[in-house]
């Protein structure tokens, strides 16, 4: 059977950041069994139900190749809770040898001791939300950590034997090109093997969007975003990290996030936790968002699914093109529908697709093309 991945969503944060539209809650005491303290037990109950549901549908997984604790802020939970969930998961489906087990972390939600406990408990990789090294930018993003703490945390993680990735956000209102350079250089100075950098997206239902509407913040400019992206890419490349997905860079192929690659390559994964999405062979399902409702459904022995869709064959093709084109391995040109294939040469001539790769039968974005990935995708899907 196919390899399985598991995503475990921890919907708690100490502070909600102004740009964040994720499913997360800052109040640890939620009613109906949805509190932070009861979370691990709830998640484990959901794992049991998920396994039973898969078996009933005829899906049996031999092993789990990647696990990812995301949030929210997973490290807001005691390290023991994360380890307990991981242990329960592997008791249901064994972890593959060398499995990648990542947790997201905020610089101020981990300590030397907690990182060491996580490593001992089977976590192999930590993805740290650094976002920026510039205090004014961090303040606009509502991030509370001291930028000086990041190198320290990276050092502790490395000492504990963890692989480390740093997350950056560029394009925050008020951020200059020089600020981006400062942040990227600070991240690279930590000698990490993996870097993610996202342009700030201001979603409509966030505090930052309201500030934008009131004119308190300046709207992001796409050309400025493009300049910043290119700067990140240049600096990462100079430090020996090359892109392997539009927003991700790694020192070697072994340092790429295998969990995320599973998403992009159409793998199956469990989605555990409030609001989490799962995928099984074209079936996409997502959980109810509120932790209390989530807990109440689990208490009655019901899978806490809000809704699901069986992705039609043509849409699966759309998803495949949309996801595989974003990664450095690119997309086999055979996947592109015949009536769309003439667009490949057009995008090559416009400088969006790598000519050599195309000759070899793969559509691989150039750097210019990465910045216009959605436009290229729209031209290639049926």
């Amino acid at each position: 059977m196919t390899a399985l991945s598991a995503y475990i969503h921890v919907p708690f944060c100490a502070v909600r950041c102004g740009y964040c539209d994720f499913n997360t809650y800052t109040n640890a005491e939620l009613g109906g069994g949805g509190s932070q303290a009861e979370y691990a037990d709830n998640a484990m109950a959901e794992m049991d139900l998920t396994l039973a549901a898969d078996r009933a549908a005829g899906y049996e997984y031999v092993e789990i190749s990647t696990v990812f604790f995301g949030g929210g802020t997973p490290t807001l939970l005691p390290a023991d809770d994360l380890v307990r969930m991981l242990d329960h998961l592997r008791s249901l489906v064994p972890l593959a040898p060398g499995a990648e087990v990542t947790t997201e972390a905020n610089p101020d939600s981990v300590t030397r001791a907690s990182l060491s406990r996580l490593a001992d408990g089977g976590i192999t990789r930590v993805s740290i939300g650094m976002q920026s090294a510039v205090p004014s930018v961090l303040a606009t993003l509502d991030r509370t950590h001291d930028p000086e703490r990041v190198p320290q945390v990276v050092q502790w993680a490395k000492e504990a034997g963890l692989q480390v990735s740093l997350d950056l956000i560029y394009g925050t209102p008020g951020e200059t090109l020089a600020d981006v350079e400062t942040s990227v250089r600070a991240a690279l100075a930590c000698e990490v093997d993996h870097l993610s950098a996202y342009s700030l997206i201001i979603e409509g239902n966030t505090a930052m969007a309201r500030q934008l509407r009131r004119g308190e913040l300046e709207a992001p400019d796409p050309d400025d975003m493009a300049d910043k992206y290119e700067l990140v890419d240049d600096l990462a490349a100079a430090a020996g990290l090359s892109w392997y997905e539009v927003s991700n860079w790694a020192r070697t192929p072994e340092h790429r996030s295998r969990h995320n690659l599973a998403y992009w390559r159409g793998g199956d994964w469990w989605g555990i936790g409030p609001g989490a999405h799962r995928h099984r062979d074209g079936l996409r399902a997502w959980n109810v968002k509120h932790p209390s409702r989530y807990a109440r459904m689990l208490a009655t022995g019901e899978l806490p699914v809000a809704d699901s869709e069986q992705v039609a064959a043509e849409d699966r093709l759309v998803e495949r093109i949309m996801l595989e084109l974003r990664i450095a391995d690119g997309l086999s040109v055979d996947v592109v529908p015949a009536e769309r294939r003439d667009m490949l040469a057009i995008h090559r001539d416009r400088g969006h697709l790598d000519p050599e790769a195309l000759t070899a039968g793969r559509a691989v974005l150039t750097r210019e093309g990465r910045l216009l990935a959605d436009a290229v995708i729209r031209d290639l899907v049926p």
Partner: protein, 627 residues
Amino acid sequence: MPVTPRIAADEALDIQPASTPQERLRNFCIIAHIDHGKSTLADRMLQITGIVEERAMRAQYLDRMDIERERGITVKSQAVRMPWQVDGVDYALNMIDTPGHVDFTYEVSRSLAACEGAILLVDAAQGIEAQTLANLYLAMEHDLTIIPVLNKIDLPGAEPEKYAAEIGQLVGVDPEEVLRVSGKTGVGVPELLDHVVRTLPAPEGQVEAPCRAMIFDSVYDTYRGVVTYVRVVDGFLRSRDRIDMMSTGAHHELLEIGVSSPEPHPTQGIGPGEVGYLITGVKDVRQSKVGDTITTSVRGAEEPLAGYADPKPMVYSGLFPIDGSDYPILRDALDKLKLNDAALVYEPETSTALGFGFRVGFLGLLHLEIVRERLEREFDLDLISTAPSVVYDVVMEDGTEVEVLNPSDFPEGKVHSIAEPVARATILVPSEFIGAVMELCQSKRGNLGGMDYLSEDRVELRYTLPLAEIVFDFFDQLKSKTRGYASLDYDVSGSQTADLVKVDILLQGEPVDAFSAIVHRDKAYSYGVDMSGKLKNLIPRQQFEVPIQAAIGSRIIARENIRAMRKDVLSKCYGGDISRKRKLLEKQKEGKKRMKNIGSVEVPQEAFIAALSSDAAEPSKDEKKKK
């Protein structure tokens, strides 16, 4: 003001239709500017003569169409027969309502031709306006007896002395002879009706001659077909007659003949000097044309009355449905409007930018506005219209002549000369704005024909201007340069050759037909710069750089660049984002389908619409009302 009618309509047995002697008839119209109170005065007359009871009075009874009512414009004239007694003698008065706008000059002239006299109605607070002046001159050319009247004398801002002097001078009477009324309260209206009887000549048709009746209006009615309004000049029309249209020789049965007072009253016939309506069962006003002469099929007249002319469209514009699937609805709607509008002409037009639509010819800008508004309102259509254009006569080097109704049909090849229509314009302004108006007219290639002071501080300026300059944005500019005080009238008269060129707007080398324009060579550059600048701001960035050029033939005269889009990517796409992102992609693709492709450039239709509608060529409705 309650006034007892001097005779009840049903008691006036000696002035029945078809048996009223001509000396007991008076036919008149009212010449007035849009908001000077013509309809209110007419309503008051209906009430005072007793043909409409007070409680049945609908404000502005005679203006039937909604648009007219809202804009205060009378588009379609009708005739009302009213009884009135002076010195114990009964008279039948026919009030013929005239269209008030410049675009309908021909219809106005036919209404005037149906009358012996005209009431010149002027707002006592505003004085005479250019269009009223133009219609007054027209009435004088028809040898009509003019009764000058100041209206709204009850208004606080009224200056009756000042304006009585002004119109007294125009009409050639002493200021004391200018009557003063209030259509609103009724003050002075009975005296005005007395004056109509005493001063207007009675009709002098030949009673025994073969019948000749002039059509001065023709209206399509859903239930009855075309209702034709006529003035009988000679002889009689009787309900049993078969009639002929003299311009075409077509025969029609008379299904009904009668008079309006103001509701239709069928009669046995109408006699010399009388005004009435007739119904023949035809379904299209083109079969019953304004200005045509009607005679009886048996013992008919040999010679038609003078003055017949076919309406000629002066301004053309492309009308396109914003939703392409509305095209059949637009076609049906135009077919319906045509039944009631003999001046409306159209043929299908296909535009790369705007899709399928029609090239429509209009009498003028107001006609365009009215038609467009009726299409939108009565047929629930959303439309975009291209910049109005006039008719050019292009002579090629090889001697072939081409009539160009649409700039995108401008012929290729060497042009010998281009002739454009010119208009005689009359502009009335307070004297402080003379300089501003002259400057404007100069910049619009105008030639000053003359200038007269109507009063100490009001001036009449007469210009010859290219019609194309007037239909472009002249009126808006005139209003803004005179703080809204100027009034304008124009009348197309002849043509002139001019140094005109066709300017194309190119997107990445491909012409965008909807933006081609024929302009004077001196204006070509500024048109090109304006239009390319406008499109630069409206067209979204593409994956590649897009040049926007303005060109005369192959010569580029202006250029803008839309820089290539650099970023179009969602930076995060993880497990939970996939469904949402796929749906977003599908939505974007749907949006892409609605784009128009000019070469490889994708342009949302909204961009074309915005570029056309932000055009200064369309005066806003508020401004038009003030006119």
